[in-house]
Symmetry: C2
Subunit: 529 residues, 2 copies
Amino acid sequence: MKLVIACLVVVLNSAHTYKLTWDSERHLLDETIRRPYSLTDDPDYMKQREKMIADEDAMRLGGRLVLQPEEQAVNKILMAEKTKMMDDSRINRTPYIPSLSFYQVKPKVENTTLLKLIRQMPKGGALHVHDLSGASIDWLIQNATYRDNIYMCVDPDSYILFKAFKTPPPNPDCPWKSVKEERAAASSPQAFDALLKKNLTMLEVDPVEAYPNNDKAWIRFQKFFMQVYYLIYYVPVFRDYYRRTLEEFSADNVQYLELRAQLWGLYDLEGKVYDSEFGLNLLLNVTEEFKKVNPNFIGAKVIMCGIRNSNVSVIAENVKNAVALKQLYPDFLAGYDLVSDEVWYNPLIYYLDALLYPSRMDPPYDLPYFFHAGETDWQGTEVDKNLVDAILLNTTRIGHGFALSKHPNLAKVVRTRQIGVEVNPISNQLLRLVTDLRNHPMNGLLAQDYPIVISSDDPSVWESYPLSHDFYMAFMAMSSEDADLTFLKQLAINSIRYSAMSKSERKAATAKWEQSWSTFIKTYLSQRP
Amino acid sequence: MKLVIACLVVVLNSAHTYKLTWDSERHLLDETIRRPYSLTDDPDYMKQREKMIADEDAMRLGGRLVLQPEEQAVNKILMAEKTKMMDDSRINRTPYIPSLSFYQVKPKVENTTLLKLIRQMPKGGALHVHDLSGASIDWLIQNATYRDNIYMCVDPDSYILFKAFKTPPPNPDCPWKSVKEERAAASSPQAFDALLKKNLTMLEVDPVEAYPNNDKAWIRFQKFFMQVYYLIYYVPVFRDYYRRTLEEFSADNVQYLELRAQLWGLYDLEGKVYDSEFGLNLLLNVTEEFKKVNPNFIGAKVIMCGIRNSNVSVIAENVKNAVALKQLYPDFLAGYDLVSDEVWYNPLIYYLDALLYPSRMDPPYDLPYFFHAGETDWQGTEVDKNLVDAILLNTTRIGHGFALSKHPNLAKVVRTRQIGVEVNPISNQLLRLVTDLRNHPMNGLLAQDYPIVISSDDPSVWESYPLSHDFYMAFMAMSSEDADLTFLKQLAINSIRYSAMSKSERKAATAKWEQSWSTFIKTYLSQRP
């Protein structure tokens, strides 16, 4: 749809009659906007102005990186599209794609040269991704639900839930049926799979309309996890789902992953439920296998997660367990976090004794924390104060930190201690914390080069690329028109710098990423006509 | 409509069967959220935590004010409602009124004890209000359009425009008809007036739906000014409209006003068009008369405004004119600004030579500027760079400054030089720069006690109280749950501190406002049962 804009202006001429006229002079005005510098003869003013703008540009994330000639060539392509898209929309008053809901603009974004460029770009690591939402829904439907022993039921709210059984038990509220048989009885497998997709996807309806606020979005969001939890936590599916996650991230040119996972609770057909070590080991083995066949892939680590609606005693056990596992798997287990809706469930302070446990051990044990904190608009509430507790509990990174810009003192600590903040633009938008990403509260901190990384949280739920769409949104909606390839490059560098990798791991990872980056630059240029 | 919320949680019990259950434990959890402090036996931690929270609370706007016992009593009433409203909505997942579009929640807000309290509160000055939108649309309809010689026409877009004539000229695109005759021919004056209201109001339809972005909102917004411009700029109406503006602001317990006005262009029935000095004099006389009969009213000043779609030569003349007028009326004319859509029209840099004129005079003349700047989401564009030019042009205050938090260096200058930033919450929301005011980019700067004042921009267009609704929104959506009466009191203090008043005027104004404040506190308490 072409947007036809009519702007009427009042023209007051000398005779003071008035007429309404179309803004026919607009093009002329644009011309002058494009070259305002010719309008003054004050070189001192212009010098001061340029300095002020340049000083600020240097302060932003990536603002001090210097591009090599080949990078400059790629930058030129990148910036031509960025500037054109911003200027076209601004000057012609047409909708600005990256300002709209991701749900609405996804197909349009996917057609851009810029997204394709970002997809090819080695983006380093994704540091904030959950185990139940790393690989695509389509894979779940086309692969996991085609397996033997997978059952489905339709709950009283008409959502389909999945689970694996040898023989399903009676379940009156939600009677189990074999997915295989249901599919066979359907008009076609395609139609059946489309029905599954429609039932699983959060984007089946316009999420801006359907989930008008953060609470309503979270209710649907959590429902998704209930739908797929027992499908994915079935051991053989879990193994393949995680492998698929690595494959999809790798195909999106992400070289490294830190996965948040519950770990305990994997189960098999014999009714056996496995503990956290089993889960961790499984992830470790898949990671090692994957690295072997994908030498460019840097690796993965796991952040073990408790759920913040658990009883204190459960989390206390969980933390002890994390300490034990960290001692056994110091390289693979990065640390511990608490997940799920911060607003609806318990704040960190509720679990304080459990979370202080490692520091109270004799000798104190340093269990790295990666707390979700400040994923909220509720300033000054117990939810918002999760940021305070995360910092007091010496968190290594902060998940989301959406509320951080409202906390000048905490923000200062975050900067001084170089606590990485994992920003997930599309997640924040679809969960309705912010509407237009140009208004994301992290934009001010990105403009000051805070220790920020961009991640994707739950790409399967947004049906986005594993990381590229979030990079795209950060680049097009969360940075200045002047922010260029250095911004994206710095995000990749930050993802290694603020990762849980050891110093030596980071060094090796940086070398690997630099190699990939240099290949990307050369390849990209050689592909261009 | 009561919102019924169902939250399902997965309960994993020891036997690893699963059931879906209603979150019946929620109340229990809430209890624990309300008293988390009992959960730890680590007094050091709690002390650090309290200090961290208190330190940050002290950093916010008003955070260092100390309330007297009577103020504390009012504060208690105020905070009971704030906390209840925030906690109820957060804990029960019901919509949070102050987070929604002002259009949708206006009637609900008006019913609150809190708004009534804020309305009674002496709020000091409104420093950002335009001359065509200070007094209510209802007054325009019920008073201005009932006068002799007022004509209306319906333009090709079905908008009604007004103007005064002795005898209207032919105007084929929009033929003039006598409002009196049209009203007499209508089924009833009430029905006719309702039609006028429906045609004038921006809130006739849900503005979130109707104006999905900043551009579309601006188009309707500017149309409003075209509709009423010639009605209000008719000398007798202008005089009364401004008097009515003072009355409405005064009734809303605003003691001081800085009005942005074009000044030139007032006209009479004889076809005479008046110059800026005439306009300024008229405003001055009305102000003086008003002050005489309202001794509690502090006063008003005028900021003369050019329109940023004018030719450079027009603005050059305008600035010279402003210099001359400032010399003639140093106390009443505060200074100069450029108005209208920053995105659509020319940036400050376009008028640089004109704006540098006073500083290039021999000797240099210091014409105070009050530039609109940064009322945009277009980071890093020429629009956004208005902030740079406003600062380089030594602006006294900044109108809106919505983009300021994206400019760390400029923000620092604003703080150091104590450049007052005039934030207009409802305006920013209805013109679609921000959806949920809890996400307003100024919230981070309010949390750091930047030199901010709250104003209302165009209260007649939003059909809001002159200032109370904006104070309400700032208090309920743009500050921490901990921010109390000190926040509102500081906003009032700031409105005097950052006003264009001279030192001695400010001293007298402060004394007057303090008197009103103390009366308010006593009266409010005495009214309570």
